[in-house]
Symmetry: D2
Subunit: 136 residues, 4 copies
């Protein structure tokens, strides 16, 4: 567990994130990862809303999560996001979801760049998103 | 509890519909009502996808629900939908959510007709949706 | 729209709160109201987790919402909560959901006090929750 | 894409499963996988509710999904579930999510057996769940 990471997003666990087991439903971890991505894009000056206005969408091609300790309603979690690999056609991210000092889960997601119709895109070398990704 | 109603939609309660209390989270009842509306629109020959293609959207203006008995994961519920009142500008619906013979909740929703930009619409007298609503 | 209220809870709208209409799904407003209640209970020194440990649960008996303007992903909303009426058997709350200065929705919820088995409770006159509610 | 599989669960996509992109939110695929598991457990005579009454819980240790084609509100999907590997301490499942003949996504999940307090369990050789898993 390294403390250097590209972005940290702090989220409050909603009561409605839980299920009848009394803990957060696993599907909701992926909603937190998305919030971390959105926060990260904003932090690198490329808010998702502006990207989609420019016709750049980032749908998931794959995602995965390994669950270590449960998370409960009312807690706060820190999602540590790392840019894993990036090309002009796709980007891969990894995540740690932490409750305080404890790693509750690790996760990864891969995203293709597509246009509004879902067609794959290749970012231009001078595209501001591509430039921001390289700096990140 | 009357058995005549305009549409019955049978739904399976998803495990992910529950919360840490062990019962279905109240917000999800509104998702079931929506499924009942979608089933009803299809049953009257006006599937929601076709309405929106024609530029007719039915956002909620109000909704309410009274909860009587809890509902559990894995159960099946029958949503009984009734057309309450309808004009060329709006439509009101009422619902009973039943588990078998038991009424678990009663609910209501009101909807305006709006275009894709959210502007209020008044249905033409020969609009197929208006004609279908009057027959319903 | 009055600015005096018993509690304000600021929430970030999650991307996963939206639906295919491009706006927040109406069911998720009820999840925000719940977060406001949880924040309010904490603020009056009666966190919900502690209440449930003491065998006091606050299930909804009714809820309603009137929607005025849509809310979009990434926005922040302020839920203004007001204690409407309170007895030793039940509590009623009202809410305004605001985007900046604009009221996006108004809402209400009523809650019974029940024990872990769902049986109605009557709060004792010296119950710390009852005392806190009277001060609120 | 093989047609032999251990269980097929047919699900209707809810409108509230979608997000502002107009397609089903990726997190909801994991809710469908869960429904397929619950249907499969019922089909092998080991409904999840009965397992948890006996103190056997099946939390996820890992899950993953690869997304191929988007899924839209109102569609029906068939989740094809396969028992991948099973021991007396854990079980692994794989899934295909199909829209008609098309594979929309493939997925996997791994589950540990734990008791109500989250402690790992080892199934007894004569445990009805273990016997049912071996026949499956």
């Amino acid at each position: 567990m390294s403390d250097a990471c590209d972005h940290v997003e702090t989220l409050r666990v909603r009561y409605s994130d839980t299920d009848a087991q009394g803990i957060v439903h696993h599907s909701n971890y992926f909603r937190w990862l998305e919030e971390a991505r959105i926060g990260w894009l904003e932090a690198i000056g490329q808010p998702y809303g502006r990207l989609t206005e420019r016709g750049i969408f980032l749908p998931l091609t794959t995602c995965s999560c390994a669950f270590q300790t449960p998370v409960y309603a009312g807690e706060r979690v820190d999602v540590h996001l790392n840019l894993d690999e990036v090309t002009r056609a796709r980007v891969g991210l990894t995540y740690e979801i932490r409750r305080g000092e404890q790693v509750a889960a690790t996760a990864a997601s891969a995203h293709a760049y597509v246009d509004a119709t879902g067609r794959p895109l290749r970012l231009q070398r001078d595209d501001p998103f591509w430039l921001a990704l390289q700096e990140a």
